[in-house]
Subunit: 393 residues, 2 copies
């Protein structure tokens, strides 16, 4: 096992009555002038934004608003937010939405106090050393950004999707009311479920396979989500099932499931180019790639895939045939993805055949023109990436 | 399930090289004049205190020292610490030790800024509204106080053992090096293992049995600790097993295993009187009582004990006989406790028969003379407490 730091200081207010705490929490963390940042019309239509505004007013906090964050949030909106915050002397950012809104908020939070171009944080040219404090009212359980220390932003100019990590990016608080997730459409619900499972699996498939408690907690988390998934798809207003999924989404990405191990993250890296190029949903992109990644890398530590098959997927262990057991685990996961409406290939994801040129372009981008690798379970170079994209096509 | 707040902001530095971070972490949390608080001679003998002193000096932090904390830490030592901190204008407390040292440190931390008598916080006369910041260098995985929001102090004058809880009591950081636990004697190791299992079970045996993810994580945690226990007893220098237990001790009591449920805590409350009266080890006292508590309350929600038997203890589920399955789970847990050298009755715990008068006195104290109850899985009154003590005698 590896030495590790675990630092997940986000204060979580969870449950039906959690929204009453929004204003008090902003005050607790010294928010006096707030940027209220959100996406489209759903938060307005549902009445959530009015609840948030009322709570802020009651707490005596001033605010300005910036909506219009899109899935795969754009650098251009981040720049707009930074300008607005500077102009209006904003001292706190409140994200109302899912991962896209939170990530846009995080980028604004580190951009405001920085003298250069915020994109510098995504190209490796600079590292954040200050950030505005940030709170979250979560509406989509998926990305786990409400407790995580990272974000992903898309630079529309070229379709680059890049991430940035810093302990400064942990939100001060997250308000989570499972009732707000009742109206999520089935496809979006399933994408979120896939994303949180993948956040756990990216950490689980590690060559440091000697952190037993982390593995056991990770397996429990994935099994819980898989148990609840068909329940929320059958009954979107099943509070109990929605709550398990919402809390699992946070725990899947606050680092609990990675203590003592090295994450792989190749599937995420490969997916970022897919959703950057085709503007598809991140969770669906992950489902489209994972099985191919798993088959390509499984020999690097077959026992890990056997463990996954038996402990997570409930595949009977054929002790005489570890490879067969491992493969049946991968197939079972793909069946689960398909069963909740996720695509398990690129052509199902984008709705048409992908060309060889596009596949090569994806690999070129993911490897920064062949100069960088992804993954650690198996370190993947440009040719490996292209092979996996092809297997998944 | 219940609405909940989850707020575990302690920064954990875990592993072989974690001690190099002590000084930097004290500086990060603005410690300039530190109270270095510890127990007996073992931290001195092992060289740990010298490592801590050197790390503080290197970070430029001044410090004063107060050793001599005993198991079941005493109010008198807390008062001595408060006086010392005030005299020397201490602004940060660093606990080097296990739960007793951390709890003594926590009591000092809330006592220093308080104008009245610190015991007020334990009698309900006052609630803490300020505290000195606190860091921990953990040497005994057991109490979980390094991430928890509570403490227990014994008032030697009458043998009262009382607790206090406040979000102010969460340590700023915890440094955990599993190597430091290699020298723990088998009995103390087993007491710690029992304590962390009980912290999880006190939360698990709840009537709010619909927080699936919390239950699944709790079961995974207990199973991990039970798997590792014989390993560390067979080989005290098994780093991997020591590390699992050390991290499990923190997760068992940072509230992760209680999200959405109501804890019971009756076994803890009943044990506090035992260790208050006989000065026995807390973990051993818990093992002596739990089986009797479990048999006494199991009918209140038998399904919970069936779940425990099957999912945690691996008892085959006899679907035709839930009570039998539940009982076999309780018996299996008692066999586990006995197998790691824990007493499963009061006479084994204190090394002699306990008198009827002492049993009645324990129940009188635990119920504050019959005026208060303990537990929520089954609410226990004075007579119930006496019945359980008698079953356990």
């Amino acid at each position: 096992m590896r030495d590790f730091t675990y630092y997940a200081p986000t204060e979580v207010a969870f449950g039906k009555d959690s929204e009453s705490k929004i204003g008090p929490l902003v005050s607790k963390y010294n928010g006096k002038k707030v940027l209220l940042h959100y996406g489209g019309k759903s938060a307005e239509r549902s009445g959530l934004l009015d609840v948030v505004r009322a709570s802020l007013r009651k707490a005596g906090a001033g605010f300005v608003e910036l909506g219009g964050v899109v899935p795969n949030p754009l650098l251009s909106k981040v720049r707009e937010g930074i300008d607005l915050c500077r102009k209006d002397k904003v001292d706190f950012i409140l994200a109302v939405g899912g991962g896209s809104v939170i990530d846009s908020s995080k980028a604004i939070a580190i951009g405001v106090p920085y003298n250069g171009d915020v994109w510098d944080f995504f190209t490796g040219k600079a590292e954040p050393d200050a950030a505005l404090p940030l709170g979250v009212v979560l509406t989509i359980p998926a990305a786990g950004s409400e407790m995580s220390d990272s974000l992903v932003i898309t630079n529309g100019d070229g379709g680059w999707k890049r991430s940035c990590g810093s302990y400064l990016l942990r939100p001060k608080f997250a308000v989570m009311n499972p009732v707000r997730t009742f109206t999520l459409p089935p496809f979006q619900t399933a994408c979120g479920i896939t994303d949180m499972i993948m956040h756990t699996m990216e950490r689980f498939f590690s060559l440091d396979d000697d952190m037993t408690i982390t593995d056991n907690l990770a397996e429990a988390l994935i099994r819980t989500v898989m148990d609840m998934a068909p329940r929320v798809l059958a009954d979107p207003e099943d509070y109990h099932a929605r709550a398990q999924i919402m809390w699992a989404g946070s725990l899947a990405h606050n680092d609990l499931t990675g203590c003592g191990t090295t994450g792989d993250w190749a599937t995420h890296d490969l997916e970022h180019e897919l959703s950057g190029m085709f503007d598809v949903a991140h969770g669906a992109g992950l489902a489209a790639l994972w099985g191919s990644w798993a088959r390509y890398v499984k020999e690097c530590r077959l026992s890990r895939f056997v463990r996954f098959a038996v402990n997570v997927m409930g595949v009977p262990n054929d002790f005489t045939d570890p490879e067969g057991t491992a493969l049946r685990g991968i197939e079972a996961m793909e069946r689960f993805f398909a069963g909740i409406g996720m695509p398990t290939s690129i052509h199902k994801l984008i709705g048409r055949e992908i060309s060889d040129g596009e596949l090569a372009e994806l690999a070129r981008k993911a490897s920064n023109g062949g100069t960088t690798t992804v993954g650690s379970f198996r370190v993947l170079k440009l040719q490996d990436m292209e092979n996996i994209y092809k297997m998944a096509k």
